[in-house]
């Protein structure tokens, strides 16, 4: 037994020059250094060859970085390490490619958005503002978004939560399969279709007028499947042993769900709901159809036209003049900030509520 173990352990790497366990290694700063060299070379080649697209410079630098790393590591460290470094550098390049659009989007929005973003902008509507001129604000749109999204959450979160509880804790057989199927179908509904559905049902057939509530209903349709899906996943993560422990104490099933299963999953569930909120906060199509859009403040979501942030952005951009562009960027910045704050709050809640160890 012991002999076979030793025989297995001896020649790990046949190419090793000696039996020593030490291998030559590139210094710790090598990847960073290589990245700098590759960036410099990329810029240099770009300038010399007269390439006018920065994207081309970047791609050359990225290729150089991956290639240089592999060649250098192969020469110094051997093939196994070279493969490792090749994969690592490739992943870094991919990471940068993925982050770049996000960073540039945020940069662009912040740079252009701060121009008119101030206290006045946040607390005034567009009522009586001539779109060709500077001035006005997003107060009416902010109110609209908060009310529409809030109402949509009030509708979608309880229904979604209860649906998920049914599917995970009770659902077996045909009904559960059917519900799962329809939730899947709902996930794929384009927002304009959800808007048209409420339009034909609520406004044309039932003959109600435009209102924030009509928009909220279509947003709720979009939000519900997301809440069901994420809550389902979170409930499935709760170990069955906890349910059994509670049932074995003589606790009824409904109380087990309420007091053991939900508290264990509550962090993930709230995160899921917040992300769903963030997802619908940017919808403009249903708002266009159902809330109609408005330039003045309407604090009643159940009657009359309202505005909303994404709709406002669309509307201002469509005006096609410089002051309107500025307002559109500033509103977009507010919308992004709103979504980011929601994300941060969700993460905070998840961390705060997570089971402690």
């Amino acid at each position: 037994m012991s002999q076979t173990v030793m025989a297995d352990a001896a020649p790990v790497d046949a190419s090793a020059p000696t039996a020593s366990l030490h291998r030559p290694r590139l210094p710790r700063w090598a990847p960073l250094g290589l990245a700098a060299v590759a960036a410099a070379l990329g810029t240099g080649i770009g300038l010399v060859a007269g390439l006018d697209s920065r994207i081309q410079w970047g791609l050359i630098a990225a290729l150089l970085y991956v290639g240089l790393t592999a060649v250098l590591a192969g020469a110094v460290e051997g093939t196994r390490q070279a493969k490792d470094r090749l994969a690592t550098s490739f992943i870094w390049v991919c990471f940068l490619l993925a982050v770049l659009p996000l960073a540039s989007l945020i940069w662009e929005t912040v740079a252009r958005g701060v121009k008119v973003l101030d206290g006045y902008f946040l607390t005034h509507s567009m009522n009586g503002v001539i779109t060709m001129e500077a001035g006005g604000g997003i107060y009416h749109a902010l109110i609209g978004t908060l009310q529409q999204v809030g109402l949509a959450t009030l509708i979608a979160a309880p229904v979604g939560l209860l649906t998920a509880i049914y599917l995970v804790e009770y659902g077996t057989g045909r009904l559960a399969k059917a519900v799962t199927f329809f939730v899947d179908v709902m996930t794929g509904i384009p927002s304009i279709v959800a808007g048209l559905f409420i339009l034909s049902f609520w406004i044309i057939i039932l003959d109600f007028g435009y209102s924030g509530f009509a928009g909220a209903m279509s947003l709720a349709i979009l939000m519900m499947p997301i809440v069901v899906r994420s809550t389902e996943e979170m409930l499935k993560l709760v170990p069955n042993e906890l349910r059994e422990a509670s049932l074995a104490l003589g606790v009824p099933k409904w109380r087990t769900i309420l007091k053991v299963v939900l508290p264990t999953a509550i962090g993930g569930i709230t995160t899921g709901i917040m992300l769903a909120v963030a997802r619908i906060a940017g919808e403009s199509a249903p708002i266009l159809l159902l809330v109609f859009g408005s330039a003045s403040i309407n604090g009643n979501p159940f009657e009359g036209a309202q505005s909303s942030l994404p709709y406002y952005v669309y509307e201002q951009w469509a005006n096609g003049n410089e002051p309107s562009y500025d307002r559109a960027w500033a509103a977009a910045l507010v919308l992004i900030a709103f979504v980011m704050i929601l994300n941060l709050v969700a993460r905070g809640i998840a961390r705060w509520k997570a089971p402690k160890h």
Partner: protein, 258 residues
């Protein structure tokens, strides 16, 4: 308060698969009964039929009778929830509620059932933790999460949680299999103390443990993989380990198979 369990003609199914077949036995009050047998012979399944936890598993189904004194647990109109309050259970892996403190874990059974007064609760929690030999180790950190304890402590916490609702029977499914020898010893001592108040049924893979803690031992076996498990014999522990009446029992105990 401890009660006798009288099982007759009990079979349990997972869907159409019969996991245990036609088991009959009696468990005396205030005694420790050990279940031994090779893996997959249905010890856990049988144990779970004794407090109606088997039917919690999807497809789980039971035929036969389990009498607790003179009440059939599977009779019509019997509420599984009250059965489980009367017959408590400790699982193989310690499973304290991760969102609750040590105190809340012990109080969970009472709290989740809604009937508690704060002043009483303190007393019950202390009594249960003392009963589980855990009080001295945790009395200064009752508000810390239960999942921060060691494995052996967690298992004793689960025992405290189970005895806090004052059951009459305590079922334990390999309570020591995830624990180190010292914690195992602590739990075995605890079982010895608990017999004065509870009827105890314990599943174990450890022969010495069965010999040490139990008054009676039941040996289960199965003809082949996929066949239902059966009760081979149940007798005083001493007899099972010295002079069993069935050859298969002797083979199993002396390590000739299984």
């Amino acid at each position: 308060m401890a009660k006798r369990i009288d099982v007759s003609g009990l079979s349990a199914y997972y869907g159409s698969f019969r996991a245990i077949d036609d088991i009959s036995m009696t468990v005396e009050p205030r005694s420790v009964t050990a279940f031994i047998g090779p893996s997959g012979c249905g010890k856990s399944t049988f144990l779970r039929t004794l407090n109606r936890m088997h039917e919690v598993t999807p497809g789980g189904r039971v035929e036969g009778k389990v009498m607790l004194d003179d009440e059939d647990l599977y009779g019509t109109g019997v509420d599984p929830v009250s059965v489980r309050r009367t017959i408590g259970m400790v699982f193989q892996r310690p499973n304290p509620f991760p969102t609750m403190s040590i105190y809340d874990n012990v109080a969970a059974g009472l709290r989740l059932n809604g009937d508690h007064k704060k002043s009483e609760l303190d007393g019950i929690v202390e009594k249960s933790l003392r009963g589980a030999n855990l009080w001295n180790e945790v009395k200064d950190r009752l508000n810390r999460p239960g999942s921060g304890l060691s494995g052996g402590q967690q298992q004793r916490l689960c025992i405290a949680r189970a005895i806090a609702v004052e059951p009459q029977v305590l079922l334990m499914d390999e309570p020591c299999s995830a624990l180190d020898p010292i914690s195992t010893l602590a739990i075995e001592d605890l079982i010895g103390e608990l017999t004065s108040r509870f009827t105890i049924v314990i599943v174990t893979h450890n022969m010495q443990q069965a010999a040490r803690v139990s008054d009676r031992t039941a040996f289960f076996n199965l003809a082949e993989v996929g066949a239902p498990g059966k009760l081979v014999e149940i007798d005083d522990t001493e007899r099972i380990f010295s002079n069993p009446s069935v050859q298969a029992t002797e083979d199993y105990i002396s390590g000739r198979f299984g």
